[in-house]
Chain length 333, copies 2
């Protein structure tokens, strides 16, 4: 990640990251510590989510780790006080789970966001918040690339809960003076994501299969498009949004103007890992029902307002990711 | 309400109405009993909501009343079994409350709807559901009249919770085979609404003020437009939607192709009541912030698919309503 001048504003600032031991949270923490911020990480360490203490190994003596849940408003009251920036990454991200049980999404993603917002409103309305939602909020694309003002038709409970949380941030920004930027992240891949199961994070899962010298299943004819973004690029977007006054009260896509097919992803992963193989596989009925079709984000708005665009080619990002996990496999497998 | 042939399908059918002792629920129960249905009413009798046993006085020996909360999944499991139709009217409807406390909306409107849907999915997936949301889900109108496919920008937590619930019904219809029709009701007025406070149901509140020989405050210059619908017309829409196969999986506006100004409403109310008066009053800052501007529903879709349109002129509906409350004032004041 480059470190342009305007990111100097984080120096000496108090920052809270929810889901701080997870994929996005830990990578952001490392970046913010590098920028001179004083970082507190909140994580509930929910089973099968992304929390992993090894993720913050490089900065473990320079961050405060607070094990707690965003739904625990009594703890949160103390954690939000005095913070200049709060990045809200904690969430239930397993859309497969949401097909059989809607309640974790409602409790963690919707109610947890409301508890964070209400706590900020009451105890620290001046804190600047960033919420990271998902491109799944759109559902099937009406036209490609997908702009932020497209109609929202989330296809599942997980996607709906992310959208409702985004709208909660918007309402607290507009009505209650709790300033926030809300983001819709596309498929993010990279170091420090969980690698234990395939229920979210498909690009990372492909990398695991290749590193295990396994076979990557490419569903359908492999032509389905996604705009994959390397995690360091995504976090550059997150930081620039937080640092840009004009971004507050806005929603932005964080995606890639260059979409790739799943076949291209699989080929790239096998090449970067130097092991594994891929083959076509049929969609399961559940996946077929949830599959929103090709997706590619229109990222002109964030380019215009925040000056961000992704800079890491898929090949480079995948190679760096594979390299990380090959080295630290024992902490993730 | 007219009783066209296709509403005969409710004869002998098992029906559950949540919020069944409230405004919409009790009027619907009376209509359904008249159509020969076997009706169970679920109501949690929450303070300051619409539940009132007197509402079902005319049918008290022909309905089953079950006091419980939609959030109580153990009770609900028994209540949904064997039902042919379930009308979901239970909800937190006080958008003023939602400005200071978002949790009742999340718990009752979002989680309560999810509990009902999940219970139906597990114990009675064949039941046909109707959900009544609000035109507030749209937020400020981008263009008038407002069509169902307009972008959704709910301005407050109450409105957002109603939208999220509507999307939950849609997702359970599309993914889980729990069939539903979802509605966005505009300002409904009529008999059997609560009359104790002004936090929701503005047209009824005007009627109370006039019957009390009080002064109706008309905010701003009184030109703000709403499409008021008489409750019997609205319930005719609800029943026709439930009775129309092609309506399932769809969302419909239930509004009025003829909008009225608040000034016109106040004048009509004073005339119908034969008492009271009205005067201009300034918006409070809270109301001004929440006020979505003129609103008028486009009702062509429900006309096309279901064959419904409102038939009661404002003057007639207001007169009937005033007459009802004058007679039964002791049960509502």
């Amino acid at each position: 990640m480059t470190k342009p001048a305007d990111l100097d504003r984080f120096r000496g600032k108090q920052v809270l990251i929810t889901g701080g031991l997870g994929f996005l949270g830990s990578n952001l923490a490392i970046a913010l510590v590098g920028l001179g911020a004083r970082v507190t990480l909140l994580d509930a360490m929910l089973d099968d989510h992304g929390g992993n203490l090894f993720n913050v190994e490089p900065i473990k003596d320079r961050v405060t780790v607070n094990f707690s849940d965003v739904r625990d408003e009594c703890s949160l009251k103390y954690l939000v006080r005095g913070k200049d920036y709060i990045f809200h990454f904690a969430g239930q991200n397993d859309h497969v789970l949401s097909l059989t049980n809607p309640f974790p999404d409602i409790d963690i993603n919707i109610k947890g966001s409301a508890i964070l917002l209400e706590t900020c409103r009451r105890f620290n309305a001046g804190a600047r918040l960033v919420y990271s939602g998902t491109r799944g909020e759109y559902g099937r694309a009406v036209m490609l690339p997908v702009r932020e003002d497209q109609p929202m038709h989330p296809k599942g409970i997980y996607e709906l809960s992310s959208l409702t949380a985004q709208q909660l941030f918007q309402i607290y920004n507009d009505n209650h003076g709790v300033p926030s930027v809300t983001l819709r992240l596309t498929n993010i891949y990279g170091e420090r994501a969980q690698m234990k199961h395939s229920r979210f994070g498909v690009a990372n899962w492909f990398i695991r299969l290749a590193l295990d010298d396994g076979t990557i299943p490419v569903f359908g004819d492999g032509s389905l498009l996604r705009d994959f973004v390397y995690v360091q690029d995504a976090l550059d977007a997150v930081l620039r949004c937080a640092a840009t006054e004009a971004a507050y009260g806005q929603v932005f896509n964080v995606g890639n103007n260059r979409a790739s097919s799943f076949r291209e992803l699989a080929e790239t992963v096998v090449r970067a890992a130097g092991s594994g193989r891929w083959e076509f596989a049929p969609f399961s009925p559940e996946r077929a029902a949830q599959e929103p079709g090709d997706f590619c984000s229109d990222i002109r708005k964030i380019g215009r307002v925040v000056g961000w665009r992704p800079t890491t080619p898929l090949e480079d990002g995948v190679r760096k990711t594979a390299c990380y996990y090959r080295r630290y496999k024992e902490h993730y497998w």
